[in-house]
């Protein structure tokens, strides 16, 4: 099963658009990233620029409104994520506990929906039509 570990760094909601983490923090993080990679559980990871460099597109009555960051009302914002493949929720949490986070920072652990989670009718609706001329040996 796959999990997304979402980093919520303290103070990122008000960070300057060009804010970058310091080299020491990055090198610690790289050590951690490497351990995920060496364990073969890491699928993807990325860091995000602060919200002050981003925008929010909100929808009302079918109309989209764009607000540039920072977002005054936001108390917690996403700073980056890992996607890992592990065997249990506990294992994902165990990995999250090992991340080199600073005081008051948060990692949110969330399981990723799998295609196979979808109900049968949805999958059936998506199924392709059968073609008599398809050749059998080109097997999945």
């Amino acid at each position: 099963m796959r999990f997304m570990m979402i980093v919520i760094p303290k103070g990122y909601e008000t960070a300057a658009p060009d804010a970058v983490p310091n080299a020491e923090a990055v090198s610690k993080m790289m050590e951690y990233n490497k351990s995920l990679q060496q364990a073969g559980v890491l699928l993807a990871l990325d860091g995000l620029l602060p919200p002050s460099a981003g925008a929010r597109v909100s929808y009302t009555d079918g109309k989209a409104t764009v607000t540039d960051g920072p977002f005054a009302e936001a108390k917690e914002v996403v700073g980056g994520y890992w996607i890992i493949q592990v065997r249990s929720r506990e294992e994902a949490i165990e990995w999250a506990k090992r991340a080199p986070m600073r005081n008051n920072e948060i990692i949110e652990v969330r399981q990723i929906h799998e295609m196979t989670d979808f109900p049968e009718d949805v999958r059936k609706a998506a199924a392709g039509f059968e073609d008599l001329t398809n050749v059998t040996a080109a097997k999945a």
């Binding site: 364990a39 065997r87 999958r123 008599l132």
Partner: protein
Amino acid sequence: MSDIHRTIEAVWRIESTRLITGIARVIRDVGIAEELAQEALVAALEQWPEEGIPDNPAAWLMTAAKRRAIDQLRRGRMLELKHGEIARELELEQRRLGDALDQSLDQVIDDDVLRLIFIACHPVLAVEGCIALTLRLICGLTTAEIARAFLVPEKTLGQRIFRAKRTLAEAHVRFESPRGEELRRRVETVLSVVYLIFNEGYTATSGGEWMRAALSEEALRLGRMLAQLLPAEPEIHGLLALMELQASRAAARTGPDGAPVLLLEQNRSLWDYAQIQRGMAALERAQGLGGGAGNYAMQAAIAACHARARTASETDWERIVLLYDALLQIRPSPIVALNRAVAVGMAYPAAGLDAVDALANEPGLANYHLLPTVRGDLLIKLGRFAEARKELQRALGMTQNEAEQILLRKKLQMMDEKGF
């Protein structure tokens, strides 16, 4: 199972390989190292529920295992002293190792994990033993879990692991990484074991046995680990690419009724495109390292052709034929030849039929139902329906596999409906 037990299990899964490799390096016996690591786990299971989970559970386990390793070394030395010459040698070695023990157990070098993988897939072991040991030592699966995945009684699996460990000990297999030519040979063995694990999980996913599906994930994890440990070995990236690309289709491989859905009939929107991307990246890596002509890389390249086609009809069959030609050069096999014939038939049905007919006397395919199946499909394409019907009926009589029978009957029924 209580929360705390689940947490201990999770810690074990993350730490067991490092524990075992760390101890094996000093003890030089994988079997004993695994037992010592297990003992540390048992200690955790006894103490943590009462005392709470320690702040650094990994360090706790390592310390517990270390203490047991030192005891074992001392006990070992006491015994060896009886043997004069050998004992003196061992004593010297152990004194040296004893000094290095603390350090070596605290920081496990990546190479140790690699050594453990090489030992688990050692040529002195039978394939079943390699698979069981790999899952146990590297993936941290329990004997019960491995037994369930391979649908054998736990006792049988336990004996398999026991025999494998004994064989390693009797063969005095050294805890070291092979080099040069030996490394290449051993990598090949390791990769074949990993691919066997993958296929065991992949071919049986329809049964709803999560443990079997989990085997594919374990194989992928092993592949990613290996790619980290030996980044310059192109075939590792080739195998990783092949497994990622095949696994990306998992959700589309069975229909709502649980029946298998063939590649060309799959709903491609169900494919996992992030996984396809990882597969493509691994394939590029293999090719970039000059391994594009490797067995796994070549198979991955064929899988990549399918992955790139947004609809079945966009498949680049000509390229696939070329890749099969190349694959036949390095790994000649009647099955590969038959698959090549299928690819030829997709682009040119008549030429495909010739290619299939050329395989008619291949002894390896004499009882292989896919030969008449493919022939039947090509005859349909060529409008030779009476002959096609005969071939499909022949195939039906040759396969015991229920899913295959259903597919063949469906084809025959569709011919009836269309008045062919």
